[in-house]
C-alpha cells in the first residue's frame, strides 16, 4: 500500500490536482459510506428486533425462557419447548453430521482417486446449494414416511431402553428434523474440513508415512491434530446453520401443541425457527407477535454468539499453528 501512496505524485497528473482529489474523495466517500451502511444495517437489525420484542420482554422477562406453554388464547407465552427442540435437533444433527463429514473430507483429501475427486467435490457442494424448502419437501413426502416405516421402529426395538428412542406415532417428528438438518450441515462441515486437510503440510504427512505409519495412523497422528481448531470452527458454523434453519425443520417436525416436553425423538416437536416459520401468517394479538419476535431475538443472540465463538476458535488455532483456516 505504501508504494501506491508514493506513486500518487500529484504534480505528474494530467488531471488538475484538485479535480483528481475531488474524484478520489467522491469514490472513497461513497465506498466508505456503503461500508458504514453495512455496519449500521447490523445495528438496525438488532435494534428493530429488540424493539419488536419489547412488549413481550417487559411482560415475561427472562421467565419466557423457562415456560413451556404457548397459549394465544390466554396470552401465556414461553419458549422452553422451542429452546429444547432447537437444542435437541441441532446437537443431534451435529452428532450425526460431524463424523460423516470428516470421513467425506478425508476421502476427498487423502483417499479418492484423482478422477473421482472433482465430481464428488462438486456434488457435495451442490448438496449445500439445494434450497431448504426442497429438502423439506423431500423430507415430508419421502424421508419422513420412510423413517417411520423402517428406521424409527428399528431404533426403538434396539435402543428403546433409552428414553430418547420411544414409540413412533407420527411421521413428522424430531428425528426426521435431525436427519434433514444433518443433510443440510454435512456439506458445510465437509467442504471446510476438506480445505483444512489439504492445507496440512506435505512434509509432515510424508514424515509420518516414512516412519512406517499406515495411512490411518498418519491421519490420526498428523492431519487431525493439525486441523483440529479449524474443524471445531467448521462444526460451530454447521451448528449455527442448524440452529437458524426454519423452513425445512418446520416442514418435517410436526409442531408442538402440548404442555410438557417429551424426550422421545419420535414425537412431534418444535424449534425456535420452525415456530417462527409456522406462524408466518401473523399473530392473533400484539403480545403474540411480540413474543414471536422475542423468539427471533433469541435466534439472533445465538447466531451472534456462534459467530464470535467460531472467530475466537479460528484465531486461536491460527495463532497456534500458523494456518489460515479461512
Amino acid at each position: 500500500v505504501s508504494t501506491l501512496e508514493t506513486a500518487s505524485d500529484v504534480a505528474r497528473r494530467p488531471f488538475s490536482g484538485r479535480r483528481a482529489r475531488f474524484g478520489d474523495l467522491i469514490l472513497q466517500g461513497t465506498a466508505g459510506f456503503a461500508a458504514l451502511g453495512a455496519t449500521v444495517l447490523v445495528g438496525l437489525i438488532v435494534y428493530k428486533i429488540v424493539e419488536g420484542a419489547r412488549l413481550s420482554l417487559s411482560t415475561f422477562g427472562l421467565s419466557f425462557l423457562t415456560h413451556v406453554v404457548w397459549d394465544p388464547v390466554h396470552l401465556k407465552f414461553g419458549a422452553e419447548a422451542f429452546l429444547f427442540g432447537t437444542a435437541v435437533t441441532s446437537i443431534g444433527a451435529l452428532v450425526l453430521a460431524t463424523p460423516l463429514a470428516l470421513a467425506v473430507a478425508l476421502f476427498l483429501s487423502e483417499l479418492s482417486p484423482n478422477w473421482l475427486r472433482g465430481p464428488v467435490t462438486a456434488l457435495v457442494e451442490t448438496l449445500a446449494a439445494i434450497p431448504s424448502v426442497v429438502i423439506g419437501l423431500w423430507g415430508i413426502i419421502v424421508l419422513a414416511p420412510f423413517l417411520l416405516g423402517h428406521i424409527d421402529p428399528a431404533l426403538h426395538s434396539a435402543l428403546g431402553f433409552i428414553p430418547l428412542f420411544g414409540q413412533a406415532t407420527y411421521a413428522s417428528n424430531v428425528f426426521a428434523a435431525i436427519v434433514v438438518l444433518t443433510i443440510m450441515i454435512l456439506p458445510i462441515i465437509a467442504s471446510i474440513s476438506r480445505e483444512l486437510f489439504l492445507g496440512v503440510p506435505h512434509e509432515l504427512k510424508e514424515g509420518a508415512l516414512a516412519l512406517g505409519a499406515t495411512r490411518w495412523e498418519m491421519v490420526r497422528g498428523v492431519v487431525l491434530p493439525y486441523a483440529r481448531g479449524g474443524v471445531a470452527a467448521a462444526m460451530i458454523l454447521g451448528f449455527g446453520r442448524a440452529i437458524g434453519e426454519a423452513i425445512a425443520v418446520q416442514q418435517v417436525i410436526g409442531g408442538f401443541t402440548g404442555t410438557s416436553i417429551s424426550w422421545n425423538l419420535f414425537s412431534p416437536g418444535e424449534t425456535l425457527g420452525s415456530k417462527l416459520a409456522a406462524n408466518y401468517q401473523g399473530a392473533s394479538s400484539g403480545l403474540e407477535l411480540s413474543s414471536l419476535i422475542y423468539l427471533a431475538l433469541i435466534l439472533l443472540v445465538f447466531s451472534l454468539l456462534v459467530n464470535i465463538v467460531a472467530q475466537v476458535v479460528v484465531r486461536r488455532s491460527a495463532r497456534k499453528q500458523g494456518i489460515s483456516a479461512r
Binding site: T30, L127, T214, G273, Y280
Partner: protein, 298 residues
C-alpha cells in the same frame, strides 16, 4: 501413542497385521461416508426429478395458481413471475452496494477498519434468514403491508455479504503492478480503481453474483413473512405481495392433495435445475476468469 506400544503377548507380525486391518477399515469407512453423502444427493435429485417430471409442461409456466380445484389446469406462472421480479430487484440492490463495500475494504480502508468491516460481513451472513425476515417485517410490513419490494429488500440483505466477500476476494487478486501502472501514468486513484482495477474483476464479480442469486432464489423464510399473502393471477408489480417459487413449494408441500404435491415437486425441479445451471455457469466463469487474471499478472 500408548495404543501402539507392543504388548508382550503380541508378536510384531500380528501387530502389523492389526494396524493394516485398522487402516483398511478406516479407509472403507471414508469411502462409505462419501458414498452416503453422494447417495443423499442422488436420492434427493432423483426424487425431485421423478415426482416433478409428471407436471413439468407448458401450462406450469403459463397458468397461475387458483387455489385447490382439480378440474382446472394449474401452473406456477405467478410464482415464477414473482421470483424473477423479487430476485432481480434484490440483485439490483445488493450488487452495487456490495461492490462499493469491497472497493472500500480493498482499496481505501486502513487495516483495523478492514478487519472491522469483514467482521460485520461475517455477522451479517450468520444471521438466520427468518430473523432478517422479522427485521424487514418490523421495518416495512408493519406500516406498509406485504410487498415484493419488502421481500426483495430482505433477499438483498442476505446477498450482500456474499457479493461483498466474493468481490473483495477478486479485487485482492488484481496485481498491484496494474494499480501502480495506472497511478504511474498519472491517472488519479478513482480512475485507476474504476477504469483499470474494477474491469479486471468483472468475471469474478459476475461469478459471485450468480452464486448469490442461486442462493437466494430458493430462500423461503423471509418471503413467507414479507410476500406470501397473494390473490389469484399473475402479477409483476413489486409494490404488492408476489407469489414466489419457494413459498409456493412450501405451501403446496403442506397441502393434503396429491395434485398440489405434484406441482410442488415440479416447482422444486425447476428451482433445482436453475440452481444447478447457475452454479455450473459460475464455476465456468470462475475458471475462465482465473485464467485471464493469471495472464494479466504475468
Amino acid at each position: 501413542m500408548s495404543a501402539n506400544a507392543v504388548t508382550p503377548l503380541e508378536r510384531p507380525a500380528d501387530r502389523l497385521r492389526r494396524r493394516k486391518a485398522v487402516n483398511r477399515g478406516m479407509e472403507l469407512v471414508a469411502w462409505l461416508a462419501a458414498a452416503v453423502a453422494v447417495g443423499f444427493l442422488g436420492i434427493l435429485v432423483f426424487s425431485v426429478a421423478q415426482h416433478g417430471a409428471s407436471e413439468l409442461n407448458l401450462s406450469l409456466l403459463t397458468k397461475s395458481q387458483v387455489g385447490y380445484d382439480p378440474t382446472v389446469p394449474q401452473g406456477l406462472a405467478n410464482a415464477f413471475a414473482g421470483t424473477i421480479v423479487i430476485v432481480a430487484l434484490a440483485t439490483a440492490m445488493a450488487l452495487p452496494f456490495g461492490i462499493l463495500i469491497a472497493i472500500y475494504v480493498n482499496e481505501f480502508a486502513p487495516r483495523p477498519i478492514r478487519t472491522g468491516v469483514s467482521l460485520v460481513l461475517d455477522i451479517l451472513s450468520g444471521v438466520p434468514a427468518i430473523v432478517i425476515g422479522f427485521f424487514v417485517f418490523g421495518l416495512i410490513v408493519v406500516a406498509h403491508g406485504q410487498s415484493g419490494l419488502a421481500g426483495a429488500f430482505a433477499l438483498a440483505i442476505l446477498m450482500l455479504p456474499f457479493v461483498a466477500r466474493s468481490t473483495i476476494e477478486v479485487l485482492a487478486l488484481v496485481p498491484d503492478s496494474l494499480r501502480e501502472a495506472g497511478l504511474g501514468l498519472g491517472s488519479p486513484r478513482w480512475r485507476t480503481t474504476l477504469g483499470i482495477v474494477l474491469p479486471q474483476t468483472v468475471g469474478g464479480i459476475l461469478t459471485g453474483a450468480t452464486l448469490a442469486v442461486a442462493r437466494v432464489a430458493g430462500e423461503t423464510a423471509p418471503l413467507l413473512l414479507l410476500s406470501s399473502i397473494v390473490g389469484n393471477g399473475t402479477s409483476w408489480n413489486p409494490l404488492h405481495a408476489l407469489q414466489t417459487v419457494p413459498v409456493a413449494i412450501f405451501e403446496l408441500s403442506e397441502s393434503p392433495y396429491p395434485q398440489d404435491h405434484a406441482r410442488a415437486w415440479s416447482g422444486a425441479l425447476v428451482l433445482i435445475l436453475f440452481i444447478l445451471f447457475a452454479s455450473l455457469g459460475a464455476r465456468w466463469l470462475a475458471t475462465r476468469n482465473r485464467r485471464k487474471l493469471g495472464r494479466a499478472g504475468g
